[in-house]
Symmetry: C2
Subunit: 310 residues, 2 copies
């Protein structure tokens, strides 16, 4: 069993997208550099979506361009449609993240297309990206994979069908996202197994929210089912503007503490990660950053699997 | 595998003990009644310890007496020494909870006795209780079973030895407590297995804190290792006055949501449990009650294993 786990920090994208007060490109880059200094090598830095709907992401091309100068950093950018994917490609993103909602009603609310129609559009996006001279990795996300604030339950068959369709459309990797944070460990286990049966090792990652306080329990179950990549947000930032009631992502600091304590190397240095909070905290509303480890401090007994890196 | 789980609400004891402003006996009883109305049948209502050290618990005899009138309620009370156990017995508690720290240094800080000396004292307490006409259940707690704020790491051998000594002293049941909240799932798994090997089914319960945000992940691991009883505090109240840095217990509301969603019947009605917060919230500092489910609300898709009880 693989004893290393990739943590992708999605704070600069999922974490900031709902923050009303604009965060400058400079502040975003300073934060991304601090995250990189803590050992994070996978960071979702922005999204190419309508600046009218998500003004905080309007500078994503500049953020991607500057993030590309950070040595060894894999630069992820989200794109919701072909125009966005073209812009993400032009900006130079290494990995383009494309979401598809497994909930037809959530899909219509989010991108004004039903799930099936959206899969066809994603097929066109992938075809366009594959035709470009620079190779990019295409990570497709099955959103609302564990429930939907609009439709409620999302049948497991719909989640499997969406993941399978993304595989057939040519995704390099598939992520299952608990967009509204209604997942529980048994549902994570059942869904991961069913999607693994359908798409095999293409299923690589879970994107979990902590809405009900179950985020790390769900991550633990994913880990037990063989998942070795997780999205997370520093301080548990984040949410979905189109999923009312959804609160933040799982807390990167606490996730790293759990994984490292359990013997899974993330190559993230926890003290440096806590220090990186200072790079973004002044730009956020008070109390926006939460977390267990950041508040309580790292116990003296902490023995990270990655060893001491500094 | 047993598909029901007992959740013991320890808020009136562990939750309130650190609250500086006195909560009246009347308010405590109103809260206990509301918790009972939500289906909780196991409630730790107070402790018989020095009223100088823990003034909030000074009315525990009155609380126990009134709690005994609530039909079907199992009334738990904590006692740290013989004098306290005598008072708990005289008050009429059904279950007397006796803690022992597996960390010698924590034990000295807490009760001015090393672990070994304290085991001898607990033997005397159990002997006294067994000699009384009314039978009581004696739940012994191995505290600092997953680390200690004073000593740091607590060797697994010390935890096993403490649990074994409690078994030999005549405990009816043994609980492992993460007093400072430094546990992680792999440590929970290893410790539960080692203690099960030593004392078998006497190990019944985990008492977990959420200091690092890992509380429910630790509970999930316990569940997977066969544990079917958990302590929890409404709103994640609680902490240990002698363990600096320790934050609250796992959140009862979120634990019930997780267990019921996973198919484990707790016989706790979640809407009624959320309503019970109103009975205690006015008596607590602002923001004292936290939790995922209480803030986000119960998802429309919630399907409790216990079924609808109202």
């Amino acid at each position: 069993m693989l004893r290393s786990v990739t943590v992708t920090e999605v704070g600069p994208r999922d974490g900031l997208q709902l923050i009303a007060k604009p965060v400058s490109t400079e502040a975003k880059i300073a934060w991304i550099k601090a995250l990189h200094a803590a050992g994070l090598r996978d960071i979702e830095v922005g999204s190419f979506v309508s600046p009218r709907l998500v003004p905080q992401m309007a500078d994503s091309a500049a953020v991607v361009a500057q993030a590309l100068r950070i040595e060894g950093l894999k630069v992820y950018a989200l794109a919701a449609n072909l125009k966005g994917a073209m812009a993400a490609y032009e900006a130079g993103a290494h990995i383009i993240v494309i979401p598809l909602s497994a909930s037809d009603r959530h899909s219509r609310a989010n991108v004004n297309k039903g799930t099936l129609e959206h899969i066809a559009a994603i097929g066109d996006i992938i075809e366009w990206l594959r035709a470009q001279p620079r190779p990019v990795r295409i990570d497709c996300v099955t959103a609302s994979a564990f429930g939907c604030s609009v439709a409620g339950t999302v049948p497991l068959g719909d989640v499997v069908a969406a993941a399978k369709a993304l595989a057939l459309a040519g995704a390099d990797r598939i992520t299952l996202a608990d967009t509204v944070g209604h997942a529980h460990p048994a549902l994570v286990r059942d869904t991961v197994r069913a999607v693994q049966d359908a798409v095999g090792p293409l299923l690589q990652k879970l994107h979990l929210h902590d809405t009900m306080g179950l985020g790390l329990a769900n991550a633990l179950m994913g880990l037990q089912e063989g998942i070795r990549e997780f999205d997370a947000c520093m301080g548990g930032l984040g949410g979905c503007p189109f999923a009312p009631g959804a609160s933040g992502n799982i807390v990167t600091e606490d996730l790293v503490f759990m994984l490292e304590s359990m013997g899974f190397a993330t190559h993230v240095d926890l003290p440096a990660l806590l220090a990186a909070r200072a790079a973004i905290a002044p730009h956020l509303p008070a109390q926006a950053l939460r977390g267990g480890v950041p508040v309580a401090g790292i116990p003296s007994t902490y023995q990270p699997a990655s060893g001491c890196m500094h």
